[in-house]
Amino acid sequence: MGIGPSTKETSLHHFRDPLLDIVSADEDLDLMGVMIVGTPDDNEDKLLVGTRAAVWAEAMRADGAILSTDGWGNSDVDFVNMAEQMEIRGIPVTGLKFSGTVGQFVVTNDHLDGIKDINKSAAGVETNMVGENNVTELDARKVTAHLKLKMRLKEQHPGSR
């Protein structure tokens, strides 16, 4: 499992989350809500919860989704599957996850081009310093802009992802 001190989002982080601030303030976007999904232990469950999130997003007729996690390691299984399940339903995805040098995706697929590394440490490691590798406003701006680009491309080329 894994959420280290430097990536962990505290209750204070959620209270003043830069990702929510940026997306909700963007007048080009209609932010429908924030979905919270857990990371189960069991592998089948890992695939289930992300798939249910994607089904829900489809039912909401979402044009796009931003996925964000403060975990890394085996929770990549959940994250990567969720990105795939969103995109095969025609919902472009960008996202935020710590990778650095030690937290590269343990599994991959073709749906991770919009995922931005939130590492801030020089060595790309879990520094055990609370807050260091957290999502910042700049990270949030980048993935929001990237999602807008992906949604526009999809509109211009409906057949492609």
Binding site: I3, L12, D28, V49, A53, D70, M129, N134
Partner: protein, 256 residues
């Protein structure tokens, strides 16, 4: 393109704390004075058989103040309370200038962590000025929990630590509910807005849910609170949906 639709309003009033001292009781005033007292801790402790001891320490802002040992940081919590309405609408009062740092270790010195821990010199273990950490000028009230042997690695122990801390914070919340609105330092207004015709977007936050301190609590009665909260583990880690205003009103309590 239709007109924007305003679904609901959330007002967050902030009260800036400028002076903190140890006192006879736990007391916070709208004019920026806060007193903390350890006398209440014995009573709180008696409700949690998983815990051995509780302590409160005041950590002043500045490099010298932070030059001290800390046990591993389990969470950083804003002190906020609902004054009117439920989470996500109405009025919330919150303190700025001070944040609660929940730390934990067991009686054998085993830190309450699971995947890297942050005990050590606070100066080297806390990155300031992030969204989730105090700023350069902020006070920290450290709520330090000593758990019984091994309980820092067990879900019931970690949950007890969060609950004990929440009980203490609730003392301040009850007083903050009575703060007069016009005494606030800042007033922020947030709206859940529908923007018809604009690209519909959902934010998905993937959170911890594997057990022990690897947990997330939602839907507490108070902002960033524990009481009345439901664990994402108990909800099968299945997706749940919250409004932007519910989220920014502290509907999540981070337990990992």
């Amino acid at each position: 393109m239709g007109e924007e639709i305003d679904l609901r309003r959330l007002v967050i009033r902030t009260y800036h704390v400028t002076d903190i001292e140890e006192g006879d009781t736990n007391k916070v005033l709208a004019d920026g004075c806060l007193y903390y007292s350890k006398k209440v801790l014995a009573g709180i402790l008696s409700g949690y058989p998983q815990l051995e001891a509780l302590d409160i320490k005041l950590i002043p802002p500045g490099s010298e103040g932070h030059n001290r040992y800390t046990n591993t940081i389990m969470d950083i919590i804003p002190v906020s309370t609902k004054v009117l309405g439920k989470l996500g609408e109405g009025i919330t009062h919150t303190l700025t200038g001070v944040y609660v740092l929940l730390t934990g270790v067991d009686v054998n010195g085993k830190q309450a962590h699971e995947f890297g821990s942050s005990e050590g010199n606070l100066r080297e273990r806390l990155y300031l000025n992030r969204a989730g950490t105090p700023g350069d000028g902020d006070f920290i009230l450290s709520f330090d929990v000593t758990l019984k042997a091994g309980k820092g690695q067990e879900r019931e122990g970690v949950t007890a630590a969060h609950r004990a801390c929440d009980e203490w914070i609730q003392i301040f919340r009850e007083q903050m509910k009575k703060f007069r609105g016009e005494k606030c330092t800042q007033r922020h207004e947030y709206h859940d807005i529908v923007r018809p015709g604009k690209k519909r977007v959902v934010i998905v936050k993937q959170v911890a849910g594997q057990g022990a301190m690897y947990d997330m609590s939602l839907f507490a009665k108070e902002p960033s609170g524990m009481e009345g909260g439901k664990s994402i583990i108990d909800m099968g880690n299945m997706p749940v949906l919250v409004t932007p205003n519910e989220y920014r009103d502290g509907i999540l309590r981070s337990m990992q």
